[in-house]
């Protein structure tokens, strides 16, 4: 019961949303103490509260492949499947960077390619620091724009295999996306216009 997907949830990429995380890691999450103690009976609001208190992002680490709290909350969001508006709010809020990272991860896993490019690319301008825990358990620093770039480019982030993303050129050729405008180009154009 605690690990079952919400009855109102819809299939994502043709499957149970929780299955976006591999069975091995999903089972590790189910068996973790944090999932059993903190994530039982949690709502989206509760997930937000937990995400505000996050200290790092990452997948599973250590010899025992212990899942991070970040990964547990990702699975919880997949289980609850909040609506699009709430996810947009979580992504757009600038106050809590780990909450934004969590929302970005969920957005990348569940939304269509065009929406992903439209929502994630503007966040290239956010260069705040994030702690990331690698598989050995050591902490490292990463910036939010690098995290966004990984979500758009890498096949696997935080031990989660991301769904295949259509290339931007293909969407541009199809007319579904305009060419990307970099924040630097935007700043330069603004400065030129000001001048």
């Amino acid at each position: 019961m605690a690990n079952r997907t919400a009855s109102t949830a819809q299939a994502v990429h043709g499957m149970n949303p929780q299955f976006l995380i591999e069975t091995t890691f999903r089972q590790r999450i189910y068996d973790s103490q944090y999932w059993k103690e903190q994530c039982f009976g949690l709502t989206v609001t509760g997930v937000m509260d937990k995400a505000v208190g996050l200290r790092c992002i990452g997948g599973c680490y250590g010899t025992t492949r212990r899942p991070t709290e970040f990964l547990c909350l990702v699975l919880k969001l997949l289980q609850l499947q909040p609506d699009r508006q709430m996810v947009d709010v979580l992504v757009d809020q600038p106050d809590f960077k780990y909450l934004r990272a969590l929302a970005l991860m969920y957005f990348r896993l569940t939304q269509p390619p065009a929406d992903i490019y439209e929502k994630l690319e503007p966040l290239y301008a956010d260069y705040r620091r994030l702690r990331v825990r690698d598989m050995a358990g050591a902490l490292a620093l990463i910036h939010m724009d690098e995290f966004v770039d990984q979500l758009l480019r890498e096949p696997q982030v935080c031990l989660v295999t991301l769904p295949v993303l259509t290339k931007r050129i293909t969407l541009e050729d199809a007319g579904r996306l305009p060419p990307r405008i970099s924040p630097l180009d935007a700043d330069d154009s603004d400065s030129d216009s000001v001048e």
Binding site: C56, Y124, Y127, L130, L141, S182
Partner: protein, 372 residues
């Protein structure tokens, strides 16, 4: 005549297994000969005979001494019902006496008489019932037979000799009905017996096991708590060492971000240029004729072979160079190996038209007609 008298007396003849009847012809019919008796009297005699026969069968396995009973029956048989009853009682008394005599004389030594046979059968039954107490009952067998009138279950098993004439039957225990209350009482009694016997030992064992389990669980909980504290402490130290604050070098962060962004912009441009170049090449090749396409393909293959030959030659030249003087290695063996490898590489780098290893049929290759 005896038959008619017997028939007139209404005595039913029994046929005992293992012993043929004495007379040649035994008319077992209850009806008497014709014209000797009135039908009413005949019917009454038949009923009395049937009753007498039933009484005889109820006597059990005891055999009827037909030879002794025959003259007695002859003498006593008057054909009346009362006389039949007296006759039956007389026969029973005779049987009892015979059994007693058999028990006193230990006459189970193979006598073929009816009494001896019956006695032997009875003794075999008793022996089976008593089991191993036959030897013990030998001493009391005589006294038991003297005291017991029936002597069926008094333990009179006779002598210790095993005399099984083939009439020993398996003893079947007669089922005894027990009410539900009796069954439950018996079950409760059997259950209480072991617990009553070892109450203290079991209680002590259970207490010991529970204590062990409690200690184990306490130890595991302490271990888990210690591990959790250590992990938390380690995590806090790591987090303190790796600060994710954004209030530090703002300009430096901005410059680092700018460099990353420029790299991303350049990467995007390179990808676009590569895609445009691939599209243009695709269009150019599509616009070419087939002849031009084949010629370009062969030229490309020749160029690739030449490049490969140059790489192999460079490797061979490098391998042919003498080894350094300070190298403590076997130069002769290495030189020979290098030479062999060079020869093999040069042989492999030679152009080979087609995959056929039959090189003597070049003139027969019809695929070359178009190229001429």
């Amino acid at each position: 005549m005896s038959n008619s008298k017997k028939q007139g007396g209404g005595v039913a003849r029994r046929y005992f297994p293992g012993k043929a009847p004495q007379e040649d012809h035994v008319d077992l019919s209850a009806s008497e000969s014709e014209g000797e008796q009135a039908p009413a009297a005949a019917a009454a005699a038949a009923a009395a005979a049937a009753a007498a026969a039933q009484r005889i069968t109820l006597a059990g396995l005891k055999s009827v001494r037909v030879s002794e009973a025959a003259p007695e029956e002859e003498g006593a048989g008057d054909g009346d019902g009362d006389s039949d009853d007296e006759e039956t009682q007389r026969l029973l008394r005779a049987r009892l006496l015979a059994r007693q005599r058999a028990g006193e004389d230990d006459s189970s030594s193979g006598s073929d008489s009816d009494d001896g046979l019956a006695a032997r059968r009875a003794q075999a039954l008793l022996r089976q019932r008593d089991g191993g107490s036959g030897s013990e009952a030998d001493g009391g067998g005589a006294s038991g037979s003297e005291s017991g009138a029936s002597g069926s279950e008094s333990g009179a098993s006779g002598s210790g000799s095993d005399e099984d004439d083939g009439y020993a039957e398996p003893v079947l225990l007669k089922p005894v009905f027990m009410s539900r209350a009796q069954r439950q009482a018996a079950a409760a009694a059997t259950q209480e017996e072991p617990s009553a016997e070892q109450p203290h030992a079991e209680a002590a064992a259970a207490a010991g096991q529970s204590a062990d389990r409690r200690e184990e669980s306490v130890r595991l909980a302490a271990e888990e708590a210690r591990r959790a504290r250590e992990e938390q402490a380690a995590g806090e130290q790591d987090e303190a060492a790796v600060s994710d604050g954004d209030d530090g070098d703002v300009d430096g962060e901005f410059e680092a971000w700018r460099a990353r962004e420029l790299l991303r912009i350049q990467r995007d441009r390179d990808e676009k240029d590569a895609a445009a170049q691939a599209d243009a090449e695709r269009e150019r090749v599509r616009a070419m004729s087939e002849r031009q396409r084949d010629a370009e393909g062969r030229e490309r293959a020749r160029r690739q072979r030449d490049e490969k030959a140059q790489r192999v030659a460079a490797l061979a030249a490098e391998a042919a160079q003498p080894a350094p003087a300070d190298a403590a290695i076997d130069t002769d063996a290495n030189a020979r190996a290098a030479q062999e490898m060079l020869e093999y590489a040069l042989k492999q780098s030679q152009p080979r038209r087609g995959n056929s290893k039959w090189r003597g049929y070049r003139a027969e290759d019809t695929s070359r007609a178009d190229r001429r």
